[in-house]
Every structure is written in structure tokens, then in C-alpha cells.
């Protein structure tokens, strides 16, 4: 299977800190990859580099075999969606208007959003449980609702590759499960791919097919979840003892 998104010999650093060095990563249809690492190790920086928003120190990122740097940004945005960790400052808008922003890369310069685009945005809002709030001011949402709105915006963008920075952050258990099931379904059934940073190891263990660990100092480890996600590696990753317990045919990880 050919890779949708590929990092070749990628070196990334931020403020003199090495995030990764010589990283090779092929993201293919159906993949659901977790990026794990401690605070400030560079998960966000790596995701932004994979999205083409930062120039890598060395190596390159390739989308459908073409270098990201050589592709028009709009073309990239049609195939690649990024969820940011935190919302930015923005002007007032309604929930529906915000979700519709995700349709931007699919519209020609002179086109307005069609009924089909509005339907896509409404479906995206529904899939994160925000139906009925379409006309609400985005500033009137709670933190978790705001987070789900940002997720709905990426869903409305309808990309082939999802790059998600802490998608489960601020979500209740109910929405965490719903979202990650949805993402896994999108990957497995619709031929998309997901790369996401996660804080919760157990979400990674349960929903992700592969794991990329960022240890800091540019050291990385990538492989299938079953092989990489071990108590030993996690202990090394978080500098704190982690134990694995058997649970319903799988494993759960606990600290301490």
C-alpha cells in the first residue's frame, strides 16, 4: 500500500531542542497512529511540520509522493486536516459559521458555500454532539463544546489525512470514546489515516494501530502498538514507573 503521507529522514528542532532526527514515517490508508511523549518534547511541533506549517531542519514531508513544500497550500488543505491544540483568538461567529470554515479549501475562489457544504458542516457538528447549537455564538460554548466544534471543523474539511493535536483533550469520557471510535472508523472503513498526539496511553492502546514515541534529544521509536507500547518503553518515555495489567484480552497501563 502506498503511503498517503510520508516523512523521509526528517529532522525537526525548535528553540535549540531536537524533536526528531532521521525520522522515517509512512502513513498509509487505514493507519491510526498515536504520538506519545512528555510535555514540551515537541509533539505539536512535529505535527505542524507534518502539516507543512513549519520547514523541517532536514529531510522532507511528502503527500501522495509529492513534496509538501512544492504543493500549493490549497491542494494540501484539501487532503490534509490539522486540529490545533488550542483555539486562537478570533472574531465572533456562530457555531455553524465556524464549522463551515472547514469547507474553504474545497471551494473555488468565487464560489459561496452551497447547500451541500452546509449539509456537510451540519453532519460534522452532529457527529460530535453539537446538533441544535448551530446558531449559538462560538464564544458562548463551554471548553469541551469549543473543543468539539474545532473537531467538527476538521471533520467538515473532510481530509484524507487527519493530523490531530490532543483531540481527546477537554472531552468527557463519553465524547472521548465517541470521537476515537469515529476516527478509527474513518481510518478503517473510509480509507483515511489519522496521526494524533495523545496524553492518555490507554486510549492509544485501545484505538491506535501504531505508536510513535518522542523521547526528547531527537530520539524516536515507531512501530505497531502491540510491539512498542510496553511498560518498559513507557517508563523510559515518561521518566516514571508504568505497569501493564491484563484487561479483557488487552492491557491497561497505570503509573506508579
Amino acid at each position: 500500500m502506498s503511503a498517503l503521507l510520508e516523512a523521509r529522514d526528517l529532522a525537526v528542532s525548535i528553540a535549540g531542542k531536537q524533536v526528531c532526527r532521521g525520522l522515517g514515517l509512512a502513513v498509509s490508508t487505514g493507519d491510526c497512529i498515536a504520538v506519545l511523549g512528555g510535555n514540551g518534547v515537541g509533539k505539536t511541533t512535529l505535527l505542524h511540520t507534518l502539516a507543512g506549517l513549519r520547514t523541517p531542519e532536514a529531510g522532507g514531508v511528502f503527500l501522495d509522493g509529492a513534496s509538501l513544500a512544492s504543493l500549493p497550500r490549497r491542494r494540501v488543505a484539501q487532503r490534509l486536516g490539522l486540529l490545533m491544540q488550542q483555539p486562537e483568538d478570533s472574531l465572533p461567529a456562530t457555531v455553524l459559521e465556524t464549522a463551515l470554515i472547514g469547507r474553504h479549501p474545497h471551494l473555488d475562489f468565487w464560489r459561496w458555500e452551497s447547500h451541500a457544504d452546509v449539509a456537510i458542516a451540519r453532519r460534522a457538528l452532529k457527529s460530535v454532539g453539537l446538533e441544535g447549537l448551530e446558531q449559538r455564538a462560538q464564544t458562548a460554548l463551554s471548553g469541551g463544546e469549543r473543543r468539539r466544534l474545532d473537531i467538527a471543523t476538521v471533520l467538515a474539511q473532510d481530509p484524507q489525512v487527519f493530523l490531530l493535536d490532543e483531540p481527546a483533550h477537554q472531552l468527557d469520557l463519553q465524547y472521548q470514546m465517541g470521537l476515537l471510535s469515529l476516527l478509527r472508523r474513518l481510518a478503517a472503513e473510509q480509507g483515511r489515516a489519522v496521526v494524533m498526539s495523545l496524553h492518555d496511553i490507554n486510549l492509544a492502546a485501545r484505538f491506535c494501530s501504531a505508536v510513535l514515541m518522542l523521547f526528547g534529544e531527537g530520539e524516536t521509536l515507531f512501530g505497531e502498538t502491540g510491539r512498542i507500547l510496553s511498560a518498559e518503553n513507557l517508563t523510559r518515555l515518561y521518566h516514571t514507573p508504568v505497569a501493564a495489567l491484563p484487561w479483557e484480552g488487552g492491557r491497561v497501563f497505570i503509573a506508579g
Binding site: R74, Q78, P92, A93, H104
Partner: protein, 328 residues
Amino acid sequence: MQRRLVPTTWLPALLMLTAAVLFLSLAVGSTAVPLHGLWDALTGGGDALTRTVVLELRLPRTLNAFAVGGLLALAGTLMQVLLRNPLADPYILGVSGGAAVGALGALLLGLAGLWVNGGAFLGSLVSTLIVFALAHGRGGWTPTRLLLTGIAVAAGWGAAISLMLVLGSDASLHSMLFWLMGDFSYQPGSSLALLVLAAGLLLSWPFARQLNVLARGETLAEALGVPVRPLTLAIYIGASLFTAVAVTEAGAIGFVGLVVPHMFRLAAGGDHRRLLPGAALLGGCLLVLADTLARSVAAPRQLPVGVVTAALGVPLFLYLLNRARGPL
């Protein structure tokens, strides 16, 4: 549900308002012109005196006021996207402060007429360049850095203005104060502002959807394929230029650029494809109305138009704000 005008009703409503305000402005003044007389004059008939009053005195001034109001509102709309801050207005980046220093400098030297306009235009350009160069700094420009640089530069201009007012002779003081509060009565009536307004709208409107995306955040806009850097640069230059032209034509008229975009947002939402033309029309109407009142309320005395703008706009805006249920 919010109370919002149906998207298709705002444009005809605004156009009708614009026509009504323009007619009112032509009819009202030290000599009132009845509606049929107005029509005769506009179509080239009627008596010569009325024709002179309407076509040569009132029409240029009315159109100029409309264009200046439109430019200020357009500049305000663009600045608010650029800084992602609903408090941004055309003056916040020090453009008008620079213009005021240029204009007052000319008045202080005993110059008048076009020299004052030239001084204002030069001052606003210098201010724009200073803010742009300084805000760029080492870390590239962010909205906050731009805003702070602009505010600091504006504070500097403010001090210079105070100094000039103190140094000015009693004779020049009156014209200085009028200039600072905005005034159309000196104007020979050029069509520069109207041309710039038309060009500004035509050039900015095609990018309105990109502005919608940029209004949601810079990184998001970049991730969604918007060419953020060129777009923000164009917004900055465009908004500064519109402000410079408006200030040059009419002095420092506050409030329009800040409040008109909000009024329109409250009534018809924040989609820039509607907001850009809507704010321009609304800003034009507000200023024409204010200027009509300024020259007729205490006739033959003329009031500074900036004072009337505030007197009209402040209660209207506070009322809308108080009733608003939409996003804010």
C-alpha cells in the same frame, strides 16, 4: 434563535437607506430645497441658484462625506480581521495620530488648504511605515506586537499634538481643534476618496471568504490554505491607505471605523462578503447624516462633524449592543 436580518434583505434595505440619506443631505441646509426642486436640479432643470447650491456646493460635499465614512468603516473592518480584535479601529495603529501631527504642523506654520491635506497624508504614511518597521522586529509580526507598537506610536503622536496645541497661536488654535474633531467645510471637494473607496471595495471583496477564514485564526487559516502572509500585508497596507485618505479629506473622525462594522455584524452577521460592502454603505450613510446635521442644526454655524457622529452613533450603538443576542 438570533434576530438577524434575512441575508437577502440587507442589501436593498441599505441601498434604500443610502438613497434616502443622500437626498436628505442635498435637500437640507441653510436654504431648504423641496424634493421636486431637487429632482429638477439633479436632472439639469430648475432655477440656476438651486442648481448651484445642490450640484456645486452640496453634492460634492455629500459624496465626499459618504466616501470618507465608507473608507473609515472599511478600514475598521479590515483592521479588526488583521488584529482579530473587535476593538481595533482605523486609528489604533497610529495612522490618524501621524496624520494629525502632519496637518497641525502645516497649520502651525501658517499654511492652509492643500498644504494641510498634504501634511496629513504624509504624516499618516510616515506613521504607517514606522509602525510596520518596528512591529516587524526580530520575532516577526503577531497581532499583539502590531497592536502594542501601534498604540505606543499613537501615544507619541498624542503628546506631539498636545505640544502643538500649546505652541499654536490663538488664530490657528480654532482651525486645529476643528481639524482634530473632523470637518468637511474646508474641502474643495475632490473625488479622491470616492475613487479610493470604489477601488478598495472592488479589490477587497473577492478576498472576503479568505478574510472569514483569517478571522478564525492565523494558523488555522494557513492550515486551510489561505496565503496568510501576503493577505495580512495587503490588509495592513490597504487599511492604512484608506485611513490616510479619509483623514486627509476630513480630519480625524473617530468612532465610525470602530462601531459601524459592529452595527452591521449585529444586524446581519460577520460574513465579510456582506460585511465589507455593508459596512462601507452604513459608514457612508452615518457620516452623510452627521455632516447634514453638523451644517444645519446650528446654521449658519457649522459644528465639527466628529461631534455629531458620536452624538448619533453612541446611543444607537449602545442600544444595539444592549439588545444583541448574537455572537459578540
